[in-house]
Symmetry: C2
Subunit: 334 residues, 2 copies
């Protein structure tokens, strides 16, 4: 798209455990930081209209229904046509918005985006990607949960989509793509991994082969491809491990008064580290393979996570992520 008009990001005002307050604060922060962005806020009239009245570049779009975190995604999407998630996806499809963000039910966002926006031609299975902090540059990991059972051809499409995301959103010129596996040799792994390795070797530009679990955080890979089961376990394990380790370190550091003093000296450094490891910085999880930019925040998204997601959505729109994915999937650059 051209840069002469603002990017219009549609935001689900009632998605997430901390909605609407943190969502609204996040929108306000994003508007302050990003002068070329406008927001269409979807949700209950009494939430979205007063906010739009008070903020420039915000359009209120009332929606009467909400999809809860525990509803069955596909049935909720089919039955609640006027829910914030379904309406948001429809605004993108109809060209009223350029991107959609929600911190609501991941399943419902996936179902709505797939049904309402539609899939990009050549994409059998949209995938959820996530950007993870590593020892080096951040890496795109996908699929992290959209598809628990995959075929090799799906993994090949994930590789193309992840590489397009790395190029267009993370600004990596020649992404290095790897398959998450349990050995480095091409013949190692599950039947799926062996078949996917062979297929990816043939058609995925920048494919460097297998990496093992211990290399995920090495920073030497830009796109890590796996099935949605392994990817989801990987992502949640990373979150859990960081949390457990940092909390154990904290308790060691405050075990005695003298340690507490020493810890205070180190606090700025550890705070910097914690910030670098903060997944919120990368702005939620993009659903790749649908016809429009769709970013899904985790349920506990705070204002910072929301504003970063709006930033990422804007970059994805400006750099034409959706068409880049369509091109990568239809005619892989070899």
């Amino acid at each position: 798209m051209t840069a002469d008009r603002p990017v219009r990001v549609c935001v689900d005002a009632v998605g997430g455990d901390k909605a609407p307050s943190e969502v609204l604060m996040g929108v306000a922060a994003a508007l302050r930081a990003l002068p070329d962005v406008s927001v269409t806020l979807v949700g209950p009239d009494e939430v979205v209209t007063p906010f739009a009245d008070k903020h420039e570049r915000v359009i209120a779009h009332p929606a009467t229904e909400t999809i809860g975190m525990d509803e069955h995604p596909a049935s909720a999407v089919r039955s609640k046509k006027d829910s914030s998630i379904v309406v948001g996806c429809r605004l993108v499809r109809e060209g009223e918005a350029d991107a959609f963000f929600s911190a609501g039910s991941t399943g419902a966002c996936m179902a709505a985006a797939t049904l309402v926006m539609g899939r990009i031609r050549g994409v059998a299975r949209p995938a959820i990607a996530t950007v993870i902090p590593t020892a080096g540059a951040p890496a795109v990991l996908l699929d992290v949960g959209a598809n628990a059972d995959c075929k090799a051809e799906h993994l090949v499409a994930f590789a193309h989509m992840g590489a397009a995301y790395a190029r267009r959103v993370l600004d990596v010129t020649e992404p290095r793509v790897a398959l998450l596996n349990i050995g480095e040799e091409p013949t190692k792994g599950s039947a799926l991994a062996i078949e996917a390795h062979e297929a990816m070797s043939a058609v995925v530009p920048g494919f460097v082969g297998n990496i093992e679990g211990r290399d995920v955080l090495s920073g030497e890979i830009d796109v890590i491809v796996t099935d949605g089961f392994t990817g989801n376990v990987t992502l949640k394990l990373l979150e859990g491990t960081s949390k457990t380790l940092l909390s154990q370190i904290k308790s060691e550091m405050t075990a005695t008064p003298i340690r507490t003093v020493a810890a205070a000296v180190l606090a700025p450094g550890l705070k910097g580290l914690k910030a670098r490891l903060d997944p919120d910085a990368y702005g939620g999880a993009p659903l790749l393979g649908v016809r429009g930019v769709c970013i899904i925040g985790h349920g506990s998204s705070n204002a910072y996570a929301v504003s970063q997601a709006i930033r990422v959505a804007t970059t994805a729109v400006r750099n034409d992520l959706t068409n880049a994915i369509a091109e990568a999937v239809e005619s892989p650059r070899t």
Copy 2:
């Protein structure tokens, strides 16, 4: 077995990157610490005989061949009948030793133990378990790589075997067993996970349902069951994450002179933490489901890892792990 004779642990003198020196030091340390253990050392005559001459409770058992880390496991085991790994497993089968330990090729150990010791009746697929440090008590994770592709019935057997290990080696009276999955509800996950959840609910004592990646280190579960692909990724990811985080913390802590001073104050606490997280403390990875105690060390095992593995092997023999697994698999306690 009765406590009136020493446990005889057979050790592969030439297994691992640091063999034989670290292996021999580990054997010496184990003998000092464990008065009720004798060691049969298998390997080249010039390595094992001088060591046996100098140490009480060591029998040298020369073997003329060695299986390298990069050899095809099954073919190497078939062709090298006088390799330390094959000979070690044979000594267990023939009742000349009670347990076997090697830090050599994992694949070759698995193949040799399965072919030479044989499988326990009812075990279609032996599994490699590993004990991981958590925020609470250590947990048994299996399979971590023996079986990249699994069926639900294999996961059920893994659950029984892991629970037997927790009872007999980790001294957990009523192990809590969980399935690693990508959601807590029984209907979540891959086709394999859904089927395994149903089967485990029916027959596995202490089964508490699914856990997600973020709960692996919670310390609330004693036995975490998964297929060998997911388990291997999980284990290596845990290793990689701890390593990356601790190294980043170290570099933050030494970034300025004053931080280095403060870090020195905290050093004992962090050292204690590092020791608690050290997987070597749990003594290698037991291969469960074969007719004999078989412990596989990682290739980089040092003397401490070797001595801990001998300690664990001794506990497993004294507490009759092999029969406990046979009973658990044949007649699950419900």
